[in-house]
């Protein structure tokens, strides 16, 4: 009995080993995505613990058309992603090129750099919220001590988005650094040695030799960060919750509000589908770009 059971387990191992993962994905991602389609043409209300679905495609489209916050959220998100990712990749690259050519401190810097990646984003949000505090935050304390006027980091419409971007930069430069640093360490040392013997300066070695060799890793860092930045939610929820007004309202925050503050599950689903379509398009485009870059 047991022997034949073991034999059956062995024979079918190939299939049942993949099965649990497939079940998880079908139940918790494929099915919800299909459900998004159904939700996007419905209005769902809960009464006495039961969901009541009604078919209202026109209402959801009308909500989309009359959503006054959405354009601001899209523009903010675009600004946020472009600014944050560009600065992160620039700083991460600079640091990786530099640290790779120092003899000491590599272990230390690597340890320090992992920390922001592993800390709860919510904790990072509350840390920076305290540091940005108008009355007693460390930045305004320093400014006042230097005789300057305090700045309303998170409360002023013109500065809030930049303040939020700064937190994202602090959070993610280390990640870009770790990716690029691993790639720099992979460059064969004799290539750089050869350039030095040919009389290239440090800056020339970095620009003409190292950066071209880092192109695939740079593309990966750009795409990874681009897509992750697009998803940013936790820190901004903590720091500003989208305010003041709609100054830092991002698409993810807006989606949260539609789903769970306005309880518009149907319209939220419509918005979600649009977001997913955008991500898929971005993935397809970036895949082509990635291939082009690694060939170049």
């Amino acid at each position: 009995m047991i022997a034949s059971f073991a034999a059956a387990l062995n024979r079918s191992f190939r299939h049942w080993s993949l099965l649990p993962a497939v079940v998880v994905f079908v139940a918790l991602t494929v099915y919800p995505m299909v459900n998004l389609l159904r939700m996007s043409v419905s209005t769902i209300e809960f009464a006495e613990g039961r969901a009541h679905w009604s078919f209202t495609p026109a209402r959801n489209v009308a909500l989309l058309a009359s959503d006054a916050v959405l354009p601001a959220a899209v523009i903010n998100t675009a600004l946020f992603v472009v600014a944050a990712v560009a600065i992160e990749v620039f700083l991460g690259l600079l640091l990786a090129l530099l640290v790779a050519r120092l003899e000491r401190g590599k272990g230390l810097v690597r340890t320090a750099m992992i920390l922001p990646i592993l800390v709860p984003p919510v904790a990072i949000g509350s840390m920076w919220k305290l540091m940005y505090n108008y009355d007693f935050g460390v930045f305004n304390q320093t400014l006042v001590a230097l005789g300057a006027a305090p700045v309303n980091w998170l409360g002023s419409t013109s500065i809030a988005l930049a303040s939020v971007v700064a937190v994202d930069i602090w959070h993610w430069v280390p990640f870009v650094f770790l990716i690029l640093f691993a790639a720099v360490e992979g460059i064969p040392p004799d290539v750089i040695e050869a350039a030095r013997i040919d009389g290239a300066s440090t800056v020339q070695i970095a620009r003409r030799v190292m950066i071209p060799l880092l192109k695939p890793a740079l593309a990966v860092a750009l795409i990874f960060r681009g897509i992750l930045a697009f998803k940013t939610f936790d820190e901004v929820y903590l720091l500003t919750s989208g305010g003041p007004g709609t100054a830092t309202e991002l698409v993810s925050l807006h989606l949260y509000r539609v789903y769970f503050e306005q309880n518009l599950l149907g319209y939220g689903a419509l918005l979600s589908l649009a977001l997913i379509a955008m991500i898929v398009a971005a993935l397809l485009v970036s895949r082509r770009a990635l291939r082009g870059m690694s060939r170049a």
């Binding site: 387990l9 904790a123 840390m127 998803k231």
Partner: protein, 284 residues
């Protein structure tokens, strides 16, 4: 791979080296400074925080208030987070490792592999909030809304892509001769998995386990919307701290510090596994 021993690339010298170390020190200060500041703040009392005093009498009051205060549920939140993170990590390791081994070892049709991995990539890339809506509806209909089990299921799903990728990468490093030898010797597939592949991929299990635990411990946007007071996890509690009408800044800082502890502990234990896990796949 210890970094100091493999100083492979031509080191800088002279003034360039001095500038290099200066920038390095500045970078480390920028990264660690905020942590130091929040730590100091968590040891201050409300008055010291508000007057912005640099010198103060440190006290653990904020911590005892957060963890054991009458009006605080934080200890319960920590328990919830620990349960969800531990159970979901265990489950995702089982499910993810089996799937990774299956895809690596057995001859699946190409479209199966592409479809599976493509789907993990897509799911990993979309904002999870898009799915929290349908999850919310489904869990309400099933009566699982506001349960830790539902949260565990979503965290397993969330961590499955990265677990599968990591474990596949580690399995691929096993010399193929070992598998062939096992096959020639008539070693049953299950035995080959358990006694040959799994021990060799143990560093991968550690890396994937640490990352899954930390990501689950940190996860906010799902927990925010699928839990309520009794089932709230640590990140949800921290957000509530920050949004109280009268914010207790010292307690908010203490809660943030406490929330960082697991990451610090796991990092101290498994740093080299984590670095490998975080950068693996993204570079190759």
């Amino acid at each position: 791979m210890s970094a100091g021993a493999t100083s492979s690339i031509l080191p800088l010298a002279g003034r360039e080296r001095a500038v290099g170390y200066l920038v390095l020190a500045l970078a480390i200060f920028c990264v660690l400074g905020p942590f130091a500041w929040i730590m100091l703040t968590s040891l201050k009392q409300q008055i010291a925080i508000h007057t912005g005093a640099w010198s103060f009498a440190p006290s653990w009051l904020n911590y005892t208030e957060v963890l054991f205060g009458r009006r605080s549920d934080f200890a319960g939140n920590v328990a919830n987070s620990l349960i969800v993170a531990a159970v979901s990590t265990l489950l995702v390791l089982i499910v993810g490792t089996l799937a990774a081994y299956s895809l690596y070892r057995f001859r699946w049709a190409r479209w199966v592999v592409t479809a599976f991995l493509g789907w993990t990539l897509l799911f990993h890339m979309i904002p999870v909030l898009t799915l929290v809506g349908p999850w919310y509806v489904a869990f309400r209909e099933l009566g699982w809304y506001d349960t830790l089990s539902a949260l565990v299921l979503t965290h397993v799903t969330l961590n499955l892509p990265i677990t599968v990728w990591l474990m596949m990468a580690f399995f691929r490093e096993i010399p193929p001769e070992l598998n062939e030898a096992a096959q020639v010797d008539g070693c049953p597939p299950l035995r080959a998995f358990w006694s040959i592949a799994l021990p060799l991929a143990a560093p991968g299990l550690i890396a994937a386990g640490i990352l899954a635990f930390i990501f689950s411990w940190n996860e906010f946007s799902i927990a925010l919307n699928l839990t309520s007071r009794d089932t709230a996890t640590v990140p949800v509690a921290i957000a509530r701290f920050a949004q109280q009408y009268e914010v207790q800044h010292g307690q908010m800082a203490a809660a943030a510090v406490i929330a960082t502890v697991p990451a610090l502990l796991l990092m101290a234990l498994g740093q080299r596994f984590i670095v490998r896990g975080l950068t693996m796949g993204s570079v190759k």
